[in-house]
């Protein structure tokens, strides 16, 4: 039975309203409805897996007909986002368990957010896309507000940047509306292919500003750390795995299907055999990797580290997509899937730790491995994935991006990308060390593992990361269909990896994992045959002979990489933040002068009116003569 696209779009909205109404009865009823309506898209979507529906007209306003449609790219994203939304809704039930009214509102807003994201993905014309894009921004604004104590400043920062992006996109839409006369994607693509370069360039840059803000790429990443860190945990999962990917999805869709790569290469000057705009974007992606990684290393707050890490990873995705070669785009798309999985996993684990210990400040945590083993194992898999180490999924996508960079013969970008990988290894170890290893604080003695249902999201994402890591063929099935849709010839792949093909040396993760397991078995056998090791209490530690007592705090956690500060000290001066501060300062002084105009007595207003009248009339007269 086929579900029309409109049904898919409206189920989350309907589910949200129903859950909100059910909250009047009882909290558990609301939760049941909430989860059911999160599961329904799983049933509806497989129908459209390999069908491409276009311009499904559902409304006509002022002569323009708004249409929905689905294609391999949006169906892949829809499936991924429904999974993330379902898991974060499970987490949200626990997080907002005892927050009554606020919990009901959060449930409503999360389901509406899912609806908005579906809307953006299903849109086939720029007006529907813009409506849902704005709805998404507003809903995120509300959800972020329910976070930690600095959530309000996070809200302000997010909404200002979202508005800047929205306005720049609105300008592009209006320009296209007047020029192309029609708002459907296909008509616009047709118009753009013949439009003059200046129009194409302006619209692309205006759209790009909107997407890159959403995807928190380097110049526009200022709002990301505080918003991800201060939002409630389930919302920060949605932010990092879904909202950021929507920005990158739109970039991929617009850059390839609407504007079209060959469109760029024709119009713009060639730089090292790719178009100028794409080359600049590659360098912006590389810069985001470096900035995201080096700042994530020195953070003291668990969620800040993850926020900066997601900025760095989106730099990888942008780098992959803007390469334009089939290998690079495949790497970028695969990294979108992988990043949503392992970043969601890490946010869930940190959320679980905060749910139990109540703090996200790393120096106050430590030694939780004995109390929360399941969280430790899932975080271990998560950090191996973030660092891009073979057995897990982070490796495959980064591997494709590196090979694509080699194929395009750009050594400096490859060096920056590889260095980002080693850098990510540092802050990722800092995270797991400060939370799970080291000395257990007294107040955390009574901490127990996260409740069983709350472990489901962690376990599901950890297994998914392992599965996609060892058998990259599964996600590659979707990615290759998307590449075909975007007009690039998809790369060859098989279930266990990538066979030898031009520009790509065969990478086979299952062989690596099997040999690693074999090595572990040999070492484990040797370890097991030798005399057993007796457990020793934490305080029975080498402390230069001194006897350790319980009140001695000897956990090395605060300022873990403090010496790293003065390694990157010379680079700290040119931070993007200072540019914005000086800009804000300029606006304040300008505003101060403007304030003096309103003196409050009538004569000044009248004289101003007369002066303005004179100026405009002059322009009108002169204008008439000159033109």
């Amino acid at each position: 039975m086929n579900f029309s696209l409109l049904m898919i779009l409206l189920t989350p909205f309907f589910g949200g309203l129903l859950a909100y109404a059910a909250s009047a009865l009882h909290k558990s009823v609301r939760n049941i409805f909430f989860l059911i309506f999160m599961l329904i898209p799983f049933v509806e979507l497989p129908v459209y897996l390999n069908k491409t529906v276009d311009n499904f007209y559902y409304l006509t306003i002022l002569g323009q007909n708004l249409s929905l449609g689905i294609n391999p790219l949006s169906s892949m994203m829809l499936l991924l986002f429904t999974l993330i939304f379902f898991l974060s809704s499970i987490f949200m039930m626990f997080e907002f368990n005892d927050r009554g009214e606020e919990g009901d509102l959060a449930v409503l807003e999360l389901s509406f957010l899912e609806g908005a994201v579906f809307g953006v993905l299903l849109a086939r014309d720029i007006l529907t896309f813009f409506i849902f894009f704005e709805l998404m921004a507003v809903l995120v604004f509300f959800l972020v507000g329910k976070g930690y104590k600095e959530a309000h400043t996070a809200q302000m920062k997010y909404i200002t940047w979202a508005l800047i992006g929205a306005n720049s996109m609105l300008a592009a839409i209006v320009l296209l509306l007047f020029k192309a006369g029609n708002i459907g994607y296909t008509e616009i693509a047709g118009y753009l292919s013949t439009a003059p370069t200046s129009i194409v360039l302006v619209t692309f840059i205006l759209f790009a500003i909107g997407f890159l803000i959403e995807a928190s790429i380097m110049p526009f990443h200022v709002w990301t750390p505080i918003t991800y860190a201060e939002a409630p945990d389930s919302v920060s999962v949605v932010l990092a795995s879904v909202v950021k990917k929507v920005g990158l999805y739109l970039f991929a869709l617009f850059a390839f299907s609407l504007f079209g790569l060959n469109l760029f290469s024709k119009l713009l000057p060639q730089v090292l055999n790719n178009s100028l705009v794409m080359y600049i974007l590659q360098w912006i992606g590389a810069l985001t990797i470096i900035i995201g990684t080096f700042i994530a290393i020195v953070q003291e707050d668990a969620k800040k580290i993850l926020a900066w890490s997601s900025v760095a990873q989106s730099g990888y995705i942008l780098l992959g997509l803007s390469l334009g070669t089939p290998l690079g785009v495949a790497g970028g798309l695969l990294h979108i899937i992988n990043h949503s999985i392992f970043k969601g996993l890490l946010f869930f684990v940190v959320g679980g730790v905060i749910y139990r210990t109540g703090t996200k400040n790393l120096p106050e945590l430590g030694g939780l491995i004995k109390k929360m083993p399941v969280s430790f194992i899932s975080m271990l898999l998560g950090i191996i994935a973030v660092a891009g180490i073979p057995p897990l999924n982070g490796f495959n996508s980064k591997y494709l991006i590196y090979e694509a960079l080699i194929q395009k013969n750009e050594p400096i970008l490859l060096t920056i990308a590889l260095l980002g990988g080693t850098g990510s290894f540092m802050y990722v170890y800092r995270l797991i060390h400060s939370i799970f290893l080291g000395q257990l604080h007294e107040e955390h003695e009574s901490v127990r593992e996260v409740p069983l249902i709350m472990q489901i999201p962690m376990i599901v994402l950890a297994l998914l990361a392992l599965l996609f890591g060892v058998l990259p063929g599964i996600p590659m099935y979707f990615v290759s269909k998307v590449e075909a849709f975007l007009g690039l010839d998809p790369i060859k792949y098989n279930l266990t990896g990538f066979p030898e093909q031009p520009g790509l040396h065969a990478g086979n993760v299952p062989v690596i994992s099997i040999t690693f397991v074999a090595g572990l078995v040999v070492a484990g056998l040797l370890f097991y045959l030798l005399p057993r090791a007796r457990k020793v209490h934490q305080l029975d530690n080498y402390y230069a002979g001194e006897v350790l007592t319980k009140d001695v705090k000897y956990n090395y956690s605060f300022g873990f990489y403090s010496f790293f500060d003065d390694i990157i000290a010379p680079f700290n001066k040119w931070s993007v933040e200072s540019v914005y501060e000086s800009f804000v300062g300029f606006i304040k002084t300008a505003g101060d002068y403007l304030r003096r105009v309103y003196t409050g007595n009538l004569e000044t207003y009248v004289s101003f009116g007369v002066i303005l009248l004179v100026i405009f009339s002059l322009i009108y007269i002169l204008g008439g003569i000159l033109w």
Binding site: D540, Y542, G545, E546, V547
Partner: protein, 173 residues
């Protein structure tokens, strides 16, 4: 069954023969004897040719060198370090202060006999033995290990209560 024992005992003997060639010395200098160690390790006397090298943490090392007088404050740390070491472990007492209190025989803070509190395998006489004497002490220890006689740590484990009783008498807390 006795084949198993001979094998077992033969295995232990080969192990002891190999083990004596690699002894790691804990760099824990309690008193004035410690100044004799650098010349023993470096170029002139070179203890490393016997496989003896200084190591830092108690977990990694086998020999605990008690180099000189032991006052109560040091004895408490010494016992902690000894118990942190992994058997088979050996204790070498340097100088007369560990044997019978030496020049501090009348002091209110110095313990007279080390082997009341820790099982000592080798004593090296001298009011700070010279590097040659230290090397001689190491060689005797290696001979003892080879003959399987250097099992001070087994003695400590067997009559653990006796040692703890002596220690409690001296260390009041």
């Amino acid at each position: 069954m006795e084949l198993q024992e001979t094998l077992e005992e033969g295995y232990v003997e080969i192990l002891d023969h190999l083990r004596k060639r690699s002894l790691w010395m804990l760099h824990y200098c309690t008193a004035c004897g410690a100044i004799e160690l650098p010349p023993t390790i470096t170029s002139r006397f070179d203890a490393e040719r016997f496989g003896i090298a200084p190591f830092v943490t108690s977990r990694q090392s086998d020999i605990l060198l008690v180099t000189g007088y032991i006052n109560i404050k040091t004895l408490r740390r010494l016992i902690t370090v000894y118990e942190q070491m992994l058997p088979p472990k050996y204790v070498i007492g340097f100088g007369s202060c560990t044997i019978n209190g030496g020049i501090y025989w009348d002091s209110y803070a110095i313990v007279k006999r080390l082997d009341l509190y820790l099982p000592v395998d080798v004593y090296i006489a001298g009011c700070m033995p010279t590097p040659m004497a230290v090397l001689e002490g190491f060689r005797t220890l290696m001979k003892l290990i080879d003959e399987g006689k250097a099992n001070g740590w087994k003695k400590y484990q067997e009559n653990y209560e006796y040692y703890k009783e002596n220690q409690r008498k001296v260390l009041k807390w």
